[in-house]
Symmetry: C2
Subunit: 245 residues, 2 copies
DNA sequence: CCGGGGACTGGCAGTTCTTACAGGCTCTCT
DNA sequence: AGAGAGCCTGTAAGAACTGCCAGTCCCCGG
């Protein structure tokens, strides 16, 4: 009873605590402490695609043993790691022991366990504009024990991870002077068809306007989006969530 | 004390209950019931872009008064509604009363309140491949009271919404026989540059290969992706998360 | 050792884009 | 009523893309 009540209370408070932290390092510590209370030893946050921050390289924050992190990076395991690949495609958090592994991936997992990293849960984080991050928590517990921890705390970890990501993303996206780009309905429509591979002439037929007018709208969209050709315009519009197919 | 414990228990159980439901209608009722327990009157789920299901039209599930739903759809309010637009760009759940409103949007809100829809929280749901849905919960309470409800249940509603979406998405995506498309490193590289608006010639310069070879890789990628031109190839590759810029 | 696949290169006809120029029509908000 | 925004249309030349032909080199697994 008491434990449940404490748990319920922690739930809100831990997240509220996260939201008040000011620095990346403090955020890391606060998160690690919360996880320790739940019985989880380590976590790793990988912000792999954070368009709002304008970075192309990933943001990695980890509490794993240094030696393992180094080994992992030196061997570019992130290119192969089943956890990362699953994160890209999944929506809900997943336990590592539920993943199907190819030989190379199995090897990575067993190397990890030499560093006592035995069980884990990863939270895929997808945001607008193709934003993507992955927050993994890991423990030295055997799978069965870890599962018991998760039954108690899975959703807690899930929500905390989402807020953690939001905080990191805000911290790395300095001046939010991103004045909202708005496409006119026609522009959005034309770009949307373009994204499906239609030519200007075809779109003209579809919308009952001349090819020339289609080109005109695309030009305007390119202007607004600040790009130099159709491809880029379509990609950027999608990234900004401006198209509705 | 007792309330807290009950709340903590509900938290897990409500979600587990959701996950066992078999039909869309039952899911709707289960979710509505959970929300009623929290003091929330209505909810609306809009699956606006569900690529896994192969649908282009949105999936809308609502418990709003029929009359309001009809009015909303007939007037295409979803094109203007501040809630929908914010959902596209936001990552975390947001209260409606925190949104900046333009005149038209203000009008929609006040029309809604004539149907007693006074306060609301919307949970943006972004998934892999540009998947997007929005789950809004609403109440007839004034803003201050509703905020109190949220302080207690915000995260609960958040997580439930994510699982709700996952369930809906699974139900509408029949047989997951989507054989994984894999691009060769070179193909991914070339498409990635293309998505940034580079021409084939420019990419050739960047990679130190001939323009012709760039075109060759793009052709192969188009084959693998089953599309007819560059635009479509880039868009599809992004949607499938095959590019890493 | 041979087949298959990936990376690479060339040419050429036809299609589509890009980017100039120039103009008109209809809304809404002030 | 006028300003601004959105929408619509035309011509034209050069750049870029598409689709189909052809071929070499290298590595990996059977």
């Amino acid at each position: 009873m008491d434990a449940k009540a404490k748990h319920g209370k922690d739930y809100q408070e831990h997240i509220d605590a996260l939201r008040e932290v000011q620095s990346v390092a403090a955020l890391r510590d606060a998160f690690a402490t919360s996880l320790k209370n739940l019985g989880v030893s380590w976590f790793t946050y990988g912000g792999l695609r954070l368009p709002r921050t304008g970075r192309t390289d990933p943001v990695i924050i980890t509490t794993y043993p240094d030696e393992w992190s180094r080994h992992y990076n030196e061997n570019r395991y992130y290119e192969t790691d089943a956890v990362v690949r699953s994160g890209f495609q999944n929506f809900l958090p997943f336990r590592w022991d539920t993943l199907p592994l190819r030989p190379k991936q199995k090897r990575i997992m067993s190397e990890a366990s030499e560093f006592k990293i035995a069980s884990g849960l990863s939270v895929p984080i997808h945001g607008p504009s193709g934003e993507f991050a992955l927050l993994s928590v890991a423990s030295e517990m055997p799978a069965a024990d870890f599962e018991r921890v998760l039954n108690e705390s899975r959703h807690h970890i899930h929500v905390m991870s989402l807020y953690y990501h939001a905080m990191i993303n805000d911290m790395f996206a300095p001046d939010q002077t991103v004045e909202a780009i708005e496409l006119s309905p026609r522009e959005a429509e034309v770009l949307s068809w373009t994204s499906e591979g239609k030519t200007a002439w075809e779109i003209g037929e579809i919308l009952g306007i001349s090819e020339r007018t289609v080109v005109f709208h695309i030009e305007n969209a390119k202007q607004k989006l600040g790009v130099f050709n159709k491809n880029q315009a379509v990609v950027k519009a999608i990234m900004l969530g401006l198209l509705k197919p």
